[in-house]
């Protein structure tokens, strides 16, 4: 009887050790994999399409704003818009935005996160919220009545996609068991997050470009 109990205890002890062995191997490997996934930076080349298109849009905005002159001959709302767009143009080129991105460099998750958070804090909070959000109110000048709904919808979309990309980067600090949801958090989405954020910059530059074109056309007697 004693011998039976002894053998039985041995079996249970070895089963428990086996369980611990399985668990620790699993966690060690999954942590290593998670670390490897996150340590892979993204490379932004010299010919990065998002950067180049953003730069060309900024140039176009600058040209449109430069060609806008003689505010006395046009309505006040265009002049107000001109001032607001000038401020926005300098914000879009400020430090930390896509315009100041160093090319031919490797970027880690935190760098991409900073790029996205600069978009939120500078572009959305300052340019949009302070200068252009009046386009969503009831007091939209008649000159911008047609373009206002397009701008509002675009900003909603841009804000949403930037937040999603930033949340995805934030989620890289933890993971759960290997379900479908988990595999999506363990996998490194840094490249797609960068693309989303860079697209947000481009889409916002498109809005400014549209408005700058409009005030420029009005200046030339187009509107």
């Amino acid at each position: 009887m004693k011998k039976f109990i002894r053998e039985y205890i041995k079996i249970i002890a070895y089963t428990a050790i086996g369980l611990a062995f399985f668990m620790t191997s699993f966690y060690l490997l999954i942590n290593y994999y998670h670390q490897e996934e996150l340590s892979r930076p993204i490379y932004i080349s010299q010919n990065d399409a998002n950067y180049l298109s953003y730069k060309s849009k900024l140039e176009e905005i600058d040209n449109n704003l430069k060609s806008f002159h003689n505010p006395g001959s046009i309505s006040d709302s265009y002049y107000v818009m001109y001032n607001k767009l000038s401020s926005c143009s300098s914000i879009l080129k400020s430090e930390g935005t896509l315009a100041t991105l160093k090319l031919d460099t490797y970027y880690k998750p935190y760098d991409v996160y900073k790029l996205g958070s600069t978009f939120q804090s500078e572009v959305l909070n300052k340019c949009w919220a302070i200068h252009l959000s009046y386009l969503t109110s009831d007091k939209v000048p008649n000159e911008f009545l047609e373009v206002a709904p397009y701008i509002t919808n675009s900003v909603d979309t841009i804000s949403g996609q930037t937040s999603f990309a930033l949340e995805e980067i934030q989620n890289n600090s933890s993971y759960f068991y290997t379900t479908n949801i988990t595999s999506s958090t363990i996998r490194n989405y840094l490249s797609s997050d960068y693309t989303s954020i860079a697209k947000s910059y481009n889409q916002f530059a498109d809005i400014i470009l549209t408005l700058s074109k409009q005030i420029n056309e009005s200046n030339n007697g187009g509107m």
């Binding site: 109990i5 002894r6 205890i9 002890a13 070895y14 050790i17 620790t24 934030q170 600090s173 933890s174």
Partner: protein, 185 residues
């Protein structure tokens, strides 16, 4: 060779457990500080919940070392698993302190990624408790084995004594017979 590896793993796991206990306490202290929780107050049980498996295992390892329990000391599988568990926890701690690719490492401004460590507490506790459970079972197994050996030793001694006694008796008998024969002659 295997004996040497076993001994090395046994020593390493003991040293690592102490180191990991200290680093875990360090992380938990800062975690509580960040959340404005007092350790020696209402949240003491929460603190104890994380540290308890380490302490239990440490006590068991001290018992193993002082009572020289060979059932645990000589179990290569147990020592390998214990060492692996310590390596895994060390990896958790390393990533908590050093992995700057995780966003929250920067966000907290402490140089410690609390969220990552908090995610690892549950598996860490389970692994340590399972190791402690296995250790206790191995101690019981070892003690039963010792008793059995003692019992078998005592029974063989008794048998030998009996045989020796009977041999002595036989010897005495033959001596007496020889004496009688000599006297009759």
């Amino acid at each position: 060779m295997l004996k040497m590896i076993n001994k090395l793993l046994y020593i390493l796991k003991n040293i690592m457990l102490i180191g990991l206990l200290i680093s875990t306490i360090y992380i938990i202290i800062f975690m509580f500080q960040r959340l404005e929780k007092e350790i020696f107050g209402a949240n003491f049980l929460e603190f104890l919940g994380v540290v308890a498996p380490f302490l239990i295992l440490l006590i068991l390892y001290i018992i193993n070392a002082f009572l020289n329990q060979k059932s645990v000391k000589n179990c290569l599988f147990y020592n390998i698993t214990s060492f692996l568990v310590m390596v895994t926890i060390a990896f958790f701690c390393y990533r908590t302190f050093m992995d700057q690719n995780m966003y929250l490492w920067h966000h907290y401004n402490y140089g410690i990624n609390f969220t990552y460590f908090a995610d690892q507490i549950a598996p860490l506790k389970v692994m340590l408790y399972v190791l402690a459970f296995a250790d206790v079972l191995l101690i019981v197994y070892g003690s039963l084995e010792d008793k059995e050996i003692e019992v078998s030793k005592t029974t063989t001694d008794k048998k030998r004594k009996k045989e020796h006694d009977s041999f002595d008796l036989d010897d005495n008998k033959t001596r007496q017979i020889k004496k009688i024969d000599l006297e009759s002659e």
